[in-house]
């Protein structure tokens, strides 16, 4: 039995502890906002927060999250910070096909939680593990800067 906190709620699950957190989120909990892109840690589409730190859920056996807190895009969606990020992504045209977007948004939260006033280089470093094949990144970088500016106070 593996017990952890998922999007603020205590959950338990009886399963193979080596299953990927990604599969458990999508299949057992129906949280399909977390995407599988490459399945080998290169693309960040499956990124979630584990105790506030960004991790790739495709590389994380669920047995290693026992006793810890997992935040997915579905849980983050309920927060004022999410609204600031989502508005900035929409305003800057930072979403096209959308597959990378949940991971990009979780990476944005991980970055702004540590650095509420990031430089352009900080943003590119914070998102360096997240691939986007549509936007060419500049709109996403601008969206993160906009979220930091418009959401001033949310991450302090």
């Amino acid at each position: 039995m593996i017990a952890f906190v998922l999007n603020g709620q205590a959950v338990t699950i009886e399963t193979d502890p080596l299953r990927r957190l990604l599969d458990v989120l999508r299949e057992d909990f129906g949280l399909t906002g977390t995407k599988e892109g490459c399945g080998e840690g290169e693309c960040g589409a499956c990124a979630v927060l584990l105790d506030g730190q960004l991790v790739n859920s495709c590389l994380m056996p669920v047995g290693l999250v026992a006793g810890r807190e997992v935040l997915t895009i579905e849980g983050y969606r309920e927060t004022p910070r999410y609204r600031a990020v989502a508005e900035a992504f929409a305003a800057e045209g930072a979403v096209q096909c959308g597959i990378c977007t949940p991971g990009m948004i979780m990476a944005t939260e991980a970055l702004l939680a540590r650095n509420p006033n990031p430089s352009d280089a900080d943003i590119r470093e914070g998102l360096s593990g997240n691939l986007c094949r549509c936007t060419g990144y500049n709109m996403i970088v601008r969206a993160v800067a906009r979220a930091a500016e418009k959401g001033r106070g949310l991450w302090w």
């Binding site: 590389l59 056996p61 006793g67 470093e125 997240n130």
Partner: protein
């Protein structure tokens, strides 16, 4: 359900399980989960049970100690690369290598000990660990031993880790340096495996080279470091290094025996490795 993984509560329990089950140690899982992955939706498949270690707080620390001639650093086996980036004591050369490794999400899970045990010729923390004469602390129930990193890593993916042993920590003396050139050559800034890497470190006393160490990653089955060639530079005035340069390049050229693979050609690796060495020597 078949037991596929153990989650010990302490290192002592982990060592007992390791000895009894020959279980595969897993800290962050960032290499093992990729190596053993199957189709989407399926758990990765391992030949033996897994022994989780990443959750053990007793193995997650960076500690400075003052025994010996130089202060040293002890890095617990569950310490992540992010922990090391944040720790004030981490030597600059190791910090820079980590800053250029992978991306935040992987550094948040991956450990230094895991990079050592993976024993890849392209392991990016290894040149720094070789230059600092790091040692690996190997624990088993009832005892432990220390091994120089260059003895612990025997070849690609091959280490001296015993069936009943776990890496408990990596230790290194905090050798002072005031010159450094580190260069990782990869296809992309983030998440790229190295085509090759180079680390040069030196300490000068006025114009005299008091210490000089070079390590090359991904140009041979294990990291290349050569004390005999380094010794030729030590206690020379730096102007005299120019006269030594051709000899040094020729000496290292014999040790640089890269392979060709999907990441790079042998010729490219050799040429760039020697140019980086040459640049380091001329910048001293």
């Amino acid at each position: 359900m078949v037991v596929t993984a153990y989650r010990p509560a302490t290192l002592a329990e982990a060592l007992r399980i390791r000895a009894a089950e020959r279980a595969i140690p897993m800290a962050g899982g960032t290499d093992l989960m990729v190596k053993h992955r199957r189709h989407a939706g399926l758990a990765p498949k391992f030949e033996r049970p897994i022994l989780f270690l990443g959750h053990l707080d007793e193995l997650r620390y960076v500690r400075r100690h003052e025994e010996g001639e130089l202060p040293g650093l002890e890095i617990g086996a569950a310490t992540t690369l992010t922990d090391l980036l944040m720790a004030a004591e981490t030597p600059a050369a190791l910090r820079q290598a980590i800053a250029e490794m992978a991306a935040p999400a992987i550094r948040n899970a991956a450990t230094l000990a895991g990079n050592v045990c993976n024993a890849s010729p392209a392991g990016d923390t290894l040149p720094a660990l070789y230059c600092f004469d790091a040692q690996v602390v190997l624990a088993r129930s009832g005892g432990e031993r220390r091994l120089d990193i260059a003895r612990f890593i025997r070849g690609p993916g091959q280490t001296d880790l015993g069936d009943d042993e776990l890496v408990r920590a990596v230790v290194l003396p905090l050798v002072p340096f005031d010159r450094m050139l580190y260069r990782k050559v990869g296809t992309r800034r983030a998440n790229a495996l190295s085509k090759l890497s180079f680390l040069g470190l030196a300490r000068l006393d006025g114009d005299i080279v008091r210490d000089m160490r070079c390590a090359f990653g991904a140009v041979a089955p294990t990291v290349v470091r050569c004390r005999a060639l380094e010794a030729r530079c030590i206690n020379l005035p730096r102007q005299a290094l120019a006269a030594q340069r051709a000899d040094l390049l020729a000496g290292y050229a014999e040790l640089i025996v890269p392979i060709r693979d999907q990441r790079s050609s042998a010729e490219y690796r050799r040429a760039v490795a020697l140019r980086l060495l040459s640049q380091f020597l001329s910048d001293l």
